[in-house]
Every structure is written in C-alpha cells, then in structure tokens.
C-alpha cells in the first residue's frame, strides 16, 4: 500500500508553481556515501580584495612579474611566506589554496553584491525578481542534508550600529527566494541551539503542529480526489517538520556538549560588543553548528560596507566605516590601507580558529576538518568599486575534500583570455566534485561570450 508520501512522490501535481521542495529536502540527516558529510563555510567580506595584497611577498622575480601581469602561475606555498594578513594560516599552509584570477563580472552590482556573488547573476539592486537561482551554498546544502539544511550568519549594519535579530540574508534557496540570517551572536545562539536553550519553545511548536495535523487530517477525511491530495501534502509537510523537530530534540545531548559560552556583552543584540568580540562569538557559534551536525553549510557575511567596525586593534576607540576606508579615509592616525589590512588580519584569525577547532575534533580516522572546505572571498571583486575581473579566493580544504588545489598559490588566466575561469566555473567545480553533475552553474560571462571563448563547465585541473 502506498503511503501518503509515496503517493505524492508519484504525482506531478504541484509542479505548476515554483516548488520549494528541493530546498526543504536540504533538511534531513542522510549522511554522504562515505559516511561523513562534506562541510562548506563561505565567508563573504566587503570592500573588495585587492589581488596584489594576496600575492606572496617571497615570489621570485619571475613569478612576481607574471603575477603582476596577470599571467597564469602556480607556486607551491612551501618555502614561501604568506602576506602579513594571512599569517594566522601559516600552520595550515598544506591545506591552504590561494586562488587568483577568477572573475565575477556577471555578479557585479557596484558597492554591494547581495545574492549575486554566490549565485553568479546580477541581483538587480537586490530586487526579489533579480534572484535568479539558488545560491551555491544552498545547492551544496541539498547535497549534504542536515537538520538546519543551511545556516546564514552576518555581521552587518547601517553604518552606525549593527543589525540584530533575524534579518534578510544574502543567500537564496531558489529563484526569487531571499534567505534570512542571524545578525547577532545571541540570536544565532538562541535559534540554533534552541533544543537545549529553550526546549519549552520546541515543545510548544510541536503542540501547535500536532493540533494542526489533527485539524487538517479531519478535513482530509471528508475530501476526495485532487483536493484530498492538497490536504495530504499539507499534512505531510507538518509531519516532516515534526520529524525534524524530533531529530533536533534527540540531538540535545550532543548540542549541550558543544554549545559555546556566550559573553553577556552579546545580550540584547550586543550593542556594546566590539567587532572582534562579535566575530569571536559568531565563530564559536559557527564551529558548534558544524560540530553538532546541525548544519553542513554555513554562509557568513563577516562584514559589508555598512558594518560599523568598532574596537579594531590600533583603532580601539574609533567608529570606522568600511565604506569610508574604501574611499581612503584614515582614522586615528592609521591610514586606510593599514585599517583594511587589520580588518583582514582579524578575519584570518577567525578562519584559523575554525580550522584549528575542526582539526581538533575527531571524525572517522581523521578529523572533522578533513571533510571541510572554507572559502573566504570578496563580495564585490577586486576593489571597493569592483569591476569583477578578479575575485581572489582564500580556500582551506581538508584532506578528504575532492579538490586539488591545496598548498598552492594559483593564478588562472586573466579575464576574457583563453582558459580564463569565472566564479561560475568555480561553483560548477564544487558541485561536480560533490555529486551534482550540472554542466555549468551560473550566468555566462558576456565578454567571454562576445570573444567566443569556451567558458562552460568545471575547472578540470581542480577536480581530484
């Protein structure tokens, strides 16, 4: 006998609308074939990332010339110093890949990228209809389901203060679907670890769902045919969410073991918390969300142009505007370039903490980091007013990650030349390497198209 679920699977009904089912399918707990899921952390930063600042200071003269001329280049990181701001990753060079030369012209939107950079399209000033497809993080989340499916964190603001609570995010679960994100550590903490911090709220959710299930089931019994299917679908959805809540409740023990301690400074949105404190707390939450298995994919907007930077080492008492330093304004006697570097140093300290914490967490015969990839990249290309011809990626990948780029500085052919790769190629590579055979993810680059240069598909050299 067919269950309600089987029945719904076998019908084409519902296909008339944009179905959110694929997104919903990211909420599960099916482990990957290897037994351990792959994990992905996307860290978005604002204000561009200038390619020369990512270059290795110990390049040979020849490599330096190639790099500056944007010529293809590959250098083993062993025996090289990292730029000052990347030094927190010194211990992890074997897992580090510096990827230069990817372009993101198809996602350039001026100061802000919104969903564009992770969807490889133009988001048209953040209009909903500009969201063309699920962003890469959601695509990966579908491949590695988890109880939360996907978690988005952000530290953004309105120049004078940080946003708090649950607010609009930058990722997209599908076309025209803007995700939400946790905008301050306390909110993220409360929402993610609710099974431990507020089991009463989970209970009351379940009581509500149970009431609705009974109520709709009663209506379903008196219907026939097509209308019965609609109610069945509604009830099935309620049941699925109940099952997910149950799963979360069962994870309470594991969550309790790994739940981070959050300082009082973060209460009520953390009005007085400094930027480093906020970043530290978000990192703790991010790590705990991964270790507990609540999610396998996190997108973290570590800053955007309107994030108010406070308590930055060297500028402790200054209220820094990232936008203003993008226009070269200095603060407290510190030049804008130095502030930019200090901000990046802070970011890398967070990345290093994630790596080190996951390396300390056993998983199978190795550690959790073995199955993790962290990507740190600019939302808007190479400068404050990005052109999109370059978007440097700093990548950390564990030993089981199916990509061959760790331990190297790689510069790909420059934009709109033979062999050039876009973020679309990069995301296609991620998807192909992890089980989604998509031919090409994202919009194509129009200058490449105009020049009739081949640009579809994965970056073969990276697929291990």
């Amino acid at each position: 006998m067919k269950t309600r679920r089987d029945f719904l699977k076998s019908t084409v009904l519902g296909a008339g609308a944009l179905s959110l089912t694929p997104y919903f399918n990211a909420f599960g707990a099916a482990p990957a074939a290897s037994g351990f899921p792959k994990r992905f952390v996307f860290i978005r930063k604002s204000n561009g990332e200038r390619p020369l600042e990512v270059a290795l200071p110990t390049f040979s003269a020849k490599d330096k010339a190639l790099d500056e001329k944007k010529q293809p280049l590959e250098v083993d990181l062993r025996g090289h110093e990292l730029p000052v701001w990347l030094r927190a990753l010194d211990k992890h060079k074997a897992n580090l890949g510096i990827l230069q030369g990817l372009s993101c012209m198809m996602s350039e939107n001026g100061h802000y990228s919104y969903s564009s950079i992770m969807g490889a399209y133009k988001s048209n000033r953040n209009s909903l209809s500009g969201i063309k497809r699920a962003t890469i993080d959601f695509e990966l989340a579908k491949l590695f389901p988890s109880p939360f499916g996907h978690v988005e964190l952000s530290l953004t603001g309105d120049y004078s203060k940080y946003r708090t609570g649950i607010v609009s995010g930058y990722s997209a679960s599908g076309p025209h679907q803007r995700n939400y994100c946790y905008a301050d550590p306390q909110t993220a903490f409360n929402e993610l670890f609710r099974a431990v911090t507020n089991p009463g709220a989970v209970d009351s959710d379940n009581a509500m769902l149970s009431f609705l299930e009974n109520d709709e089931s009663f209506k379903e019994r008196i219907l026939q045919g097509y209308e019965k299917q609609k109610l069945s679908s509604h009830i099935t959805s309620i049941e699925a969410i109940q099952a997910r809540n149950l799963k979360l409740s069962k994870m309470a023990g594991s969550i309790a073991r790994h739940i981070p301690k959050l300082g009082k400074i973060h209460a009520d949105g953390g009005l007085n918390a400094s930027s480093p404190e906020k970043q530290d707390a978000m990192t703790d939450i991010l790590i705990a969300a991964l270790i507990t298995g609540l999610t396998n994919v996190v997108t973290y907007t570590i800053d955007e142009l309107s994030t108010p930077v406070r308590g930055l080492p060297g500028n402790e008492a200054d209220r820094i505007s990232i936008h203003a330093i993008g226009h070269n304004e200095s603060y407290g006697g510190v030049p804008a370039d130095k502030i930019r570097e200090n901000i990046r140093i802070g970011h890398m300290q967070q990345v290093a903490r994630i790596v080190e914490r996951l390396k300390a967490e056993p998983e199978g015969k190795g550690t959790m980091f073995d199955n993790t990839m962290i990507m740190y990249f600019p939302e808007g290309g190479e400068t404050h007013h990005g052109h999109g011809t370059e978007a440097p990626f700093v990548i950390l990948a564990g030993n089981n990650c199916k990509l061959n780029l760790a331990g190297r500085y790689i510069r790909l052919p420059f934009h709109a030349t033979e062999g050039h790769k876009t973020i679309g190629n990069w995301y296609t590579t991620l998807l192909n390497a992890h089980g989604n055979p998509i031919k090409h993810y994202g919009d194509l680059d129009l200058e490449m198209a105009r020049k009739k240069l081949d640009q579809a598909g994965a970056i073969r050299q990276f697929i291990a």
Binding site: G14, G130, Y226
Partner: protein, 1015 residues
C-alpha cells in the same frame, strides 16, 4: 507486418508486494483481440526493433518490467490524447479505433493507479491540448460549465497584500504631485517576511489552482508566523482597536510595563539628584572612584608618500556614530557647558557623567575620542531645539516606592545603571507575582481572543466547533507559555491553517440537475476580488456578500463592472522595474487586468536576462527597466481605451519611448531645453567665466537650467563649479540640437545633473538609452513630446524591444522560443517537449547567420516535425537583433570578423558597438494554422505576420482561452465551451472590449458553479 507479441499474449509480470517492481507470473494481462490489429496496423511498423522512432519500441512490451511498461503506456496515452500519433502523414485510425486503443491503455494504467495524463492535463503547458475547433464549434454549448470544488493556494501577490493588510502596512507614492496609497509596495519596515508562494516565471498564465503547499512553504510560513505574531502584539499595544482582545488579555501586563517605564524614565533623568537627596553628605562617598580614560595624542595618518592623509569630515564621522551616542554627547555638552567649560574640561565633565551612569567603557572611549576630534563640528551642529521636557515627577505614592527601592538596593561603589537595574528587577518580580495571584484570563477573554483573531487572520468568525477547539487550545497554551506567548502561538496556529494559505472555493446550497452548486456569497466575494485584484473583497463587495446581494449572475455582473471602472486605487506593477532603473511602475487599472497581458506576453522576462553593455553600445542596465516600464505604459494605454484591444496590441505602430506618460510635462521640459539652447547657441558660452554667466541670470531665473544653482555661480569649485555645469549642459544640448533636431528628449546626459522632467512620481528620468533599441539616434532624434508616437519598423507589442529581448538569449536572438510563443499563445497550437535525446544547441559558425545555422540544425525530418511549427514563425523576428533593434544586416560577432573596434566608454549619444562583418537578414517565413486560407501563407517578415495575426479569429479565440485560464486558474475543458464562446462573442459584439470579456467570464457558469470532486 504482423504484431508478433500479442498473438502469444503479453506475459508481462507484475510486481509482487509493491506497485513498481519485478514482474510476477501470477498476474498476467493480455491485449484484447480487437486492440492487437490496431497496434499492428498503426504503431508497430515504426516502433519495433530496428525502427525505434523517438526511441520508442512497442514490440517488446513482454520483456519490460512493470514500471517501464507503465511509463511507456503513459507516453502512448499522451500521444493518443493529443493526437500526435500516428503522424499526420501516416495512415490514421478511425475515431472509433482511436477510442478503443485509448480505452485499452487507460484501463491498463488505471488498474495500477498510474495514469499521469489526468494530472498533466491540469498543468498550464497542457492547456492547448483540448481541441480548439471542438471548443468553438458550438456542438458542446449544451454541456454544463463548472469548476470543481477547490482550494487554491494563494499567489505571491495575494501573500503580500494579505500581510500588508494584516499588519496595517500601507505603501505610498507621490503620483502627479499627490500622495497616493498603493497596493503592491511590499517594503515593510520592522518585519522580515519571506514570500514562499512564488509563481513560475514562464510567459502566459502563471497562477493555477494546481499548486500545493509543500514542506518548504510550510517551513517558511512557520518563520513568517513567528515574526507576524510578535508584530501583531506590538501593534495591538499601540493601536487599541487593532485586536482589542489582545489588549484585554495583556492589559495588566502592559499597565505594569507602563509603570515600570515611567519609573525607569524618571529615575534615569533624576537619579543623580535623588541620590543626593536620599544619601545627603554620604552620597559622594558611595560613588565609585572615577578614572578618566587614557588620552592618546590625536594624529593624522601619513601616507606612503609622506603626505598627511585626510580624516573623515565631521558629517561622515558623525553618521558612523550610533544615534544614541550622538544624542548623549549633545545632551552632555548642553548640560556641562552651562558654566562656560570648554574643550578638555567640558569633555572630562561629560565623561564623568557617563562613568557614573555606568555607560559602557568602550562607548565612553569612543565618545571622548569623537569629542576631542570633532568638537568644533559638534558645537556647530548642536541641535537648536530646547532639550526635551524632564519626565514629570510621579505621584507621592510612586515616589515613596522609588525612594524605598533606592534605599534598599544602593550599595557603595554602585554606578547609577546598576542601582536602576536592581530596582527594576525588584519591581518586575513584584508585578509578576501580582499577576499570578490574579489568575489567568477567563473563558470570556479567551473566547474573545479566538473570535477576534479568527476575524483578523481568517477574515471570518469561527464556527462554534472552531470556537470550542481553539478555546481549548488557547487554554493548553496558557498552561505552559504565559499570556503573551500564548497569543503569539495562537496567531501562528491560525496562520498555518490551510484556510489562511488556500483560497476556499466550495459550492454550497442545493445542487442543480447537473450536480452543480453556486459559490456561497462570501466565497464568491473572494473569488471576484481575487479575480481582479490581489486583495480581499473591498467594502462594497463584502457588504454585497453580507447582505444577500451576491447570489445571482446579475449580482456578479454589477460588482465586476463596478470594480472594473474603479480608478481610485493605485498599484505598484513591478518592484523590480522600480528598483533597477529607478523608474515608475504603477497603474490605477485593476491590477490583474493589466497583469494578464503582462504575463501573457511575458515581456517582463527581459529583466533577468543579463546582457552585454558593449554589444548594446551603451548603458543597457538602466535602459532595460525603462523598456519594461514603457511596455507596461503602452499596454495600460491601450487597455484604458478598451476598444479592439487584441488587434491594437498586435498591430500598434505607436509606442512610448523615453516618456513618462505625461504629455504636458514632456512638452514643457523639451521646450525649456530648446529655449535655453536657442538663447545661448550663438553666444560664446564656451568661454564664459562666472562673471559672464552671471549676466544671464535674469534669463536663467525665468528658464532654469536643470542642475544649475544660480546662487553658487563663482562661489564653488570642483564638481560643483556652476560654470562647468552650465558648459557641460550646453555641450550636451548642442550635441542633441545642433543638427536638424528641433526637439530633444527631456533627459540629462551629464553625470550628476538632474533631468529637466521628472517621472510622475517625481524621480529623475533615467535609462534614456532605451531609445537605442528603437534605432533612434539620440544625437539626432526629433523627440515626440506627445506619446505614444509612431516608431518606424514596428508593429505591435511583439516588435517592442522589451518583448524581443525577453524572448532572446544573452547574446543572440531566439527564433525557436519566439515561434513557439506565437504557436502556443496565439495559434492555440501544441509543441511537444524537447526529447531528452536531442542536443538543443545551435552550432557555432561565424560565417553564417543564426537563421542559416538554425536551419542546418533542424532541417532533418525528425527535428522538423516539431520545428516546422515554430521556425517559420520565429525567423520572421530576425529583422530585429537581440536588443530589439531593427536591422537589415546581421552582425557576425566573432573576433575573426571584427572590422572596427569602437571605444568602450562615451556619452549616451555615442554608439559604442564594435563593428563586425555582416550578412543580409532573411526574415521571410510562413504562417500556417490560423484556419483561414486568406491569412495562412508565406510571410515577408514579422510586420506582415503581426498584421495577419490581428485579423485571425483563431488568434482572438486563443487569447480568450488564455484569459479563461487566467481568471479561472485552470485549463479549459470541453464543458467550458459555452463560457469561451460567450466571452469571444462579448469581445466581438463590444467592439473589442476586454472589460466585456472579463464580465462574461466572471459571470459564466464556469466561474459561478462548483461541483464536488469524486474518485
């Protein structure tokens, strides 16, 4: 040829234990003797080993697993139903034979509950499967029309309108200088909702009753429900009439909160004096020891070149400070500068205050640093207004409580905020206890809550059973959650009910002889309201439903006609159009009337198409939204006239280009440019300095040049140098009017200078390069201020650049999609899906036109049987490029064909396109399928096609069919024949009124009657 298998009977074996699996010899089926020769005669010769046309074999059914066999039979059933098989050129079965075959396939599929056809036929893409000639033959007008009883998932538009109404959010626009409320502005402040009910993005009818709520929808709605419930409670606190029952339940808690807030506010303002009063000479000794923050020397940064780098100016730095900090700084300066203290002494006093108040140390540090760096700016920017009035002293009984609490809680070394917190915690606890003692809300209060929340959220009163159930639920929540959380949970529960997210359309009352029942008045009022708008019934409609005036066809007619005439409500058409190019996008037509044509033609599909500025030869991004906005204006303009709507839409030669729809404003603005140009053109304006320009101030006062500030002439340099602005504008005017042009478009081509005319909502006019898509030379275009105006080489909306771009790719035209659109939307035709085995890519060859490459790819018989329905129509559009520009030569864009590289940047008047070799465009095609021999035949181009389509009865009827689907939310079936024919006749007899079509459809049996579904 003999069908081999049936004579030995199919020995397909059925699944044991589950529906789809391996075959079992226990269950057998056989092909009936009458069916065998039919398969043999009409099918197997093409579908057997060696001749597996379409990758289909029918001679090996016995070896297929059950699921494979059922899959195959589903394909057979679909082909039989839509009449695709046998192919037209082959021998055809009689109607009786076809029916016999169809019945056999259906029976076999039904036995396993595996038929997909019935479900598929509900889908929009199968709308045309019902035979057009049958529908309009008149043979079936006797069949009783009805729509099955149904729930209809709300659309993305209804979702927004519903929540806007629920949350009292009213969008506004300043339209023609008047503040207007608009529906469709969804930029709600203070609440973050995600719309899960998105419609598909294809052209045509998008909103069907087939959609079902799934887990993703529900999960999103749970999050939305939580947001909304908190918002509603806050709203109820603010607005007493919002949901009075919430106020009643929360009254005690809110009264306590008010007392607490008053005490807090009074204490914050007066704690210093209160402490002095209460502790007298001991007070100083109880204060904490003040330690000033360390003062680092202030310095400017030094750049790599040794030069001093700039710090942020005051205004920028102040905008980076939290508002609360700025307010505190101003307030502290005001208080502490009274006795003449300045600079460091003043800052120290302020700091001390903040220290005692317990302001966070970092906040103090940054305030102090800011004051040290920007004292001059601060003093200049001090708010002029008097400081706010100090909170009134509470009554003596309250003062006694406050004093007692301070005396109880103050400890040595406490900062003020610490004392305050302890007092507040104490009082909060006392109040909580007091409420607990008073007991929870009684039955009346909970009953009122259920009733009012039902009315607010479900928009009807609860039934008595619902009242009982929800009262019990409320009590169960109260036991665990407390009052506020209980209310929140109840709101969430109601939002997640099916009747919140589904429209309910079930017939009621006595069934007629056909088993049909009319919609009850309330459901009818919603059906009518949602047919024309996205909102719940307006007052008149709701009143009609409540007073028994929505029971007859005439009642429906009265209300529909009333709503169609209404022009008092404005709607945002498309928020994306507003955002991308900062264009206007509003209408006061009933929104769903305009939206039908918008979606039917699908020209908003332009918006997500990413196109290359270089290939456009200018700024395409801003132009793109203008093109959609002006296509909307054109459709609205034609609809407003309500005469020969379809014909005009298909053949109009008049368009809006770079226009706001306000002819008077455009005339005034263009005349102004002309006047200024004429006044200065013969003067030596290029060598003007400030003094020379000032001579002309009297003229410029009368005829203000956009962007020019007469008071600032000679006073400001750099970007704001008024002489430079003037000369920039004159250069622009000269470029545009220095030819033979007499009138130029009211745009500004100078960066940062506003346009001489504003849009109807008062924005700058942008996206002037939309004109390029109409082949207009912006440096030499006699701008028609009165529009719509005739444009060369255009005929109808299908030649509007917005439509042409929407049906093009990123870098090339798309004759297949264009032809498919015409075939399906205008000629009621069907085109099968692209077979999975087909590589649907046109090969690259930069020595050929796209048409030549397309023909090479699709000419073989297998491809052509489908492509012949699309290509001969689609290629006629080749007279336009993928930006909608008319052309006689096709540019072979490939680096090998580059003739001249053009600059990458230039003024909007410049054409920045690189020049490539070209080949002549061939836009000839062929029209078949109108059913009218006078119209069918070879086509010269799309202008020829548009003219013929507009004359076709079938085209008219095809649009009527789509209108039916749009307003009914489903595909037509044969019993809707009368409804369709009536609507068609209403159009014809009214002289082409679309309002007449709407009235006819919404008063038809198909709309009024419902019938219960059966198994």
């Amino acid at each position: 040829m003999i069908l081999r298998i049936p004579y030995i009977f199919f020995a397909c074996v059925f699944a044991a234990g589950h529906a789809f699996g391996a075959a079992s010899p226990a269950e057998r089926f056989r092909v009936g003797e009458k069916v065998v020769p039919l398969l043999d005669n009409y099918c197997v010769s093409c579908h057997e080993e060696g001749t597996t046309k379409g990758e289909v074999r029918l001679d090996n059914l016995e070896s297929l697993s059950l699921d494979a066999r059922l899959d195959l039979l589903n394909r057979v059933q679909e082909q039989l139903h839509i009449g695709e098989m046998p192919p037209k050129k082959k021998k055809q079965p009689t109607e009786a034979e076809r029916n016999l075959l169809a019945e056999w396939v259906a029976k076999e599929l039904r036995a396993h509950g595996a038929s997909k056809l019935e479900d598929k036929l509900r889908m929009p893409e199968y709308g045309n499967v019902v035979d057009h000639e049958k529908l309009f033959s008149g043979k079936y007008v006797g069949l009783p029309g009805f729509t099955p009883d149904r729930r209809w998932l709300i659309s993305e538009f209804i979702f927004e309108a519903k929540f806007n109404q629920l949350l009292d959010f009213v969008g506004q626009r300043n339209i023609d200088g008047k503040r207007q409320q608009v529906i469709g502005d969804n930029n709600r402040n203070g609440i973050n909702l995600t719309n899960p009910f998105l419609l598909p993005t294809h052209s045509g009818v998008r909103y069907y009753d087939t959609a079902m709520l799934d887990g993703g929808h529900l999960l999103t709605m749970i999050t939305n429900a939580k947001e909304v419930s908190a918002f509603m409670i806050a709203r109820a606190k603010k607005v007493k009439t919002y949901v009075p029952a919430i106020e009643a339940l929360m009254a005690a808690e809110w009264a306590h909160e008010k007392i607490l807030a008053d005490r807090e506010s009074y204490l914050t303002a007066n704690i210093e004096s209160l402490l002095r009063e209460l502790f007298k000479e001991k007070n100083e000794g109880l204060l904490p020891v003040f330690v000033a923050t360390k003062r680092e020397p202030l310095q400017n940064a030094i750049g790599p070149d040794g030069k001093v780098l700039k710090n942020s100016v005051f205004a920028i730095a102040a905008s980076n400070m939290p508002r609360e900090d700025m307010a505190q700084i101003y307030s502290a300066i005001q208080k502490n500068s009274l006795n003449g203290d300045k600079d460091d002494a003043l800052i120290l006093k302020c700091e001390k205050d903040w220290f005692y108040f317990g302001v966070n140390e970092r906040a103090i540090q940054s305030r102090v640093k800011f004051m040290r760096g920007y004292m001059e700016g601060l003093l200049k920017a001090m708010p002029k207004s008097e400081p706010g009035r100090a909170p009134k002293a509470p009554a003596e009984s309250e003062m006694a409580i406050i004093r007692a609490a301070i005396l109880k809680h103050r400890k040595a070394g406490d900062r003020y905020n610490s004392i305050l917190e302890k007092c507040m915690a104490d009082w909060t606890g006392e109040f909580r206890q007091e409420r607990l003692k008073a007991g929870g809300p009684g039955d009346v209060a909970t009953g009122n809550l259920v009733e009012q929340l039902f009315t607010k959220l479900i928009e009807r009163a609860p039934t008595s059973q619902e009242k009982t159930e929800y009262a019990a639920l409320t009590k169960s929540y109260l036991q665990k959650l407390g009052t506020e959380k209980t209310i929140e949970k109840l709101i969430q529960t109601l939002i997640l009910r099916t009747d919140f997210v589904y429209r309910q359309e079930f017939g009621e009352g006595t069934a007629d002889v056909h088993g049909r029942k009319m919609l009850p008045p309330r459901a009818a009022s919603y059906a009518l309201a949602y047919a024309l708008t996205d909102s719940s019934p307006d007052k008149e409609l709701a009143a009609a439903a409540a007073s028994g005036k929505l029971n007859t066809r005439e009642d429906y007619r009265r209300e529909v006609e009333r709503m169609l005439k209404n022009r008092s409500q404005h709607y945002v058409i498309d928020e994306a159009v507003e955002r991308i190019g900062l264009n206007d996008s509003f209408t006061n037509l009933p929104i769903r009337k305009l939206r039908f044509f918008r979606e039917f033609f699908g020209y908003p599909g332009l918006l997500p198409i990413f196109k290359d500025n270089k290939r456009f030869g200018g700024n395409y991004t801003d132009a793109s939204a203008r093109l959609v906005s002006e296509a909307d204006m054109l459709v609205a303009h034609i609809l407003e006239q309500d005469k020969n709507i379809f014909e005009k839409l298909l053949t109009t030669e008049e368009f809006f280009v770079c226009h706001t729809g306000d002819n008077a404003a455009m005339t005034t603005a263009t005349a102004l440019i002309r006047k200024i140009y004429d006044y200065f053109k013969d003067k030596d304006w290029k060598s003007f300095d400030a003094e020379k320009l000032k001579v002309h101030i009297p003229f410029l006062k009368e005829n203000p040049m956009p962007g020019l500030n007469l008071d600032a002439i000679g006073k400001v340099g750099g970007r704001s140098d008024q002489v430079k602005i003037f000369q920039g504008m004159m250069t622009d005017y000269t470029l545009r009017l220095g030819n033979r042009t007499t009138v130029t478009a009211p745009f500004s081509s100078v960066f940062g200078v506003p346009s001489p005319a504003k849009t109807r909502t008062g924005r700058d006019m942008r996206g002037s390069e939309a004109a390029k898509s109409f082949n207009l030379d912006m440096a030499n275009w006699n701008y028609p201020a009165t529009q719509p105006a005739k444009m060369e080489n255009r005929k109808g909306i299908l030649t509007h650049p917005a439509w042409l771009i929407a049906f093009a790719g990123n870098t090339a035209t798309d004759p297949i999609r264009r032809g498919k659109w015409v075939r399906e939307k205008l000629l009621a035709g069907t085109i099968p899906d692209v077979p999975v085995t087909v590589d649907a890519v046109i090969p690259e060859d930069h020595h050929k036109t796209l048409r030549q490459r397309l023909e090479a790819k699709t000419q073989d018989e297998y491809c052509w049987k489908c492509h012949e329905r699309m290509n001969p129509l689609g290629v006629t559009f080749e007279m336009y490029d993928d930006f909608g520009r008319f052309r006689t030569e096709e540019s072979l864009e490939h680096p090998d064909n580059l003739v001249k590289k053009m600059p990458d940047k230039g003024s909007p008047q410049a054409d920045l396109r690189d020049i490539y070799k070209t080949l002549p465009v061939d836009a000839k095609g062929h029209l078949a399928g109108t059913g009218d021999p006078k119209l069918d035949g070879d086509l010269k181009d799309v202008i020829d096609l548009a003219g013929r389509l507009a004359k076709s009865t079938k085209v008219r009827q095809s649009i009527i069919r789509h209108a039916f689907r749009y307003f009914m939310g489903r595909n037509e079936v044969i019993s809707d024949s009368k409804t369709l024919m009536d609507a068609d006749q209403a159009y014809v007899q009214s002289g082409g009124s679309f309002d007449a079509v709407i009235v006819s459809l919404l008063t038809s049996d198909s709309f009024i009657y419902r019938k219960a579904a059966t198994n």
